[in-house]
Symmetry: C2
Subunit: 189 residues, 2 copies
DNA sequence: CAGGTTAACCTAATGGCATTAGGTTTTGTC
DNA sequence: GACAAAACCTAATGCCATTAGGTTAACCTG
């Protein structure tokens, strides 16, 4: 019996693939074990339990998003950066809707998840420096941006928009709304 | 052995109480049965299965919200109505965070859930008539409002705002952002 | 390259849960 | 007072997470 050569990262990879293919509910240790060609209890070598695997998945999704959004924003500033951030956010969610749905179910008080979320927040804050926003004003602005992008994304991922109106148009208007708000709350120049 | 006198509604009541007390994950048929003083299989008389119970819970939460938000908006118009809608939305989520977290996990394609969600949408659309928004413009505006309110609410319910900045201030700025957007997208008078 | 340690993997067992099958008792009705 | 319907029960099945206790592959040390 040859060794499978698993690792924590490989288990998380399998979990993500499973979520992409069969939805967040399908993430069970039994299914991950079957996919990785290993008996279920063997997974406990690499992962403390199912709850931790879920946490690791959330963490991975957040860091992946941070990376992609960071790349999308790079070299851009002001309204352009904000628009790029929004588009990259939505693109990620449309590419991996089930993954995105799996994140909010995790407790934010877990240090690893919290720090991954903080990384995303940093990207948002970086974009806001282009508006001269710092300190508390930047935090409030970042919350507006995050709530807006996340709200649209989670509704879309859950199939929450039933009507036939074009979603690209809705999203563009959403971006415009945020941009106007950022300009207005910026300190007078 | 006296009869418990259950009904579908009573089962949903127990499910909601359970969610409020112990979180959305704690919703199991075994726990509902214990709480209602009945053996687990007896619940199948009133509910098809666990998935349906979850759906009924989501439906109930949406109709409750619709009722409360509708009441909050009644007799108000324009910016005042929008602000009242937002505040009532957040108040509901803060009162029942676990319930709110239980809703998005439900498939929107279920007719009962979808129609409950549509009821909420109607309240939002009603508020928008004060801005002269109709047709597609109203739909896009309603999506902006919904995404914004839901995004903030779900982040707050999940403990997603870690920083010490005042959340009331953030929320007020969020409302202002939406109001400005609604005014701007209204047809010229 | 022999011997030994580590760690990845296994099988077996436990307990919780959802669900189904098939009886029994209560309740209301004629 | 009997009967039919519906609410409830116990028993049984199967899937899942988790724990316990071996086994064996791989690596390291001399």
């Amino acid at each position: 019996m040859p060794r499978a050569g698993l690792s924590t990262a490989a288990v998380v990879d399998a979990a993500l693939a499973l979520i992409d293919e069969r939805g967040a509910d399908a993430l069970t240790l039994a299914a991950v074990a079957a996919r990785t060609g290993v008996a279920t209890p063997s997974l406990y070598v690499h992962v403390r339990n199912l709850a931790e695997l879920r946490r690791l998945v959330a963490q991975r999704v957040l860091t992946d998003m941070t990376e992609q959004l960071g790349a999308a924003v790079m070299g851009r500033g002001g309204d352009d950066a904000v628009a790029a951030l929004f588009r990259a956010w939505r693109a990620y969610v449309l590419a991996y809707p089930a993954r995105y749905a799996a994140v909010p179910a995790q407790p934010r008080d877990e240090p690893a998840v919290a720090s991954a979320a903080a990384g995303l927040m940093d990207v948002v804050l970086a974009v806001l420096t282009g508006y001269g926003l710092t300190g508390s004003a930047a935090i409030h602005a970042a919350r507006r941006l995050r709530a807006t992008a996340h709200g649209f994304a989670s509704l879309e991922a859950a199939g929450g928009f039933g009507l036939p109106e074009d979603l690209d148009t809705s999203y563009q208007q959403l971006i415009d709304m945020v941009v106007v708000s950022l300009r207005t709350s910026a300190p007078a120049t």
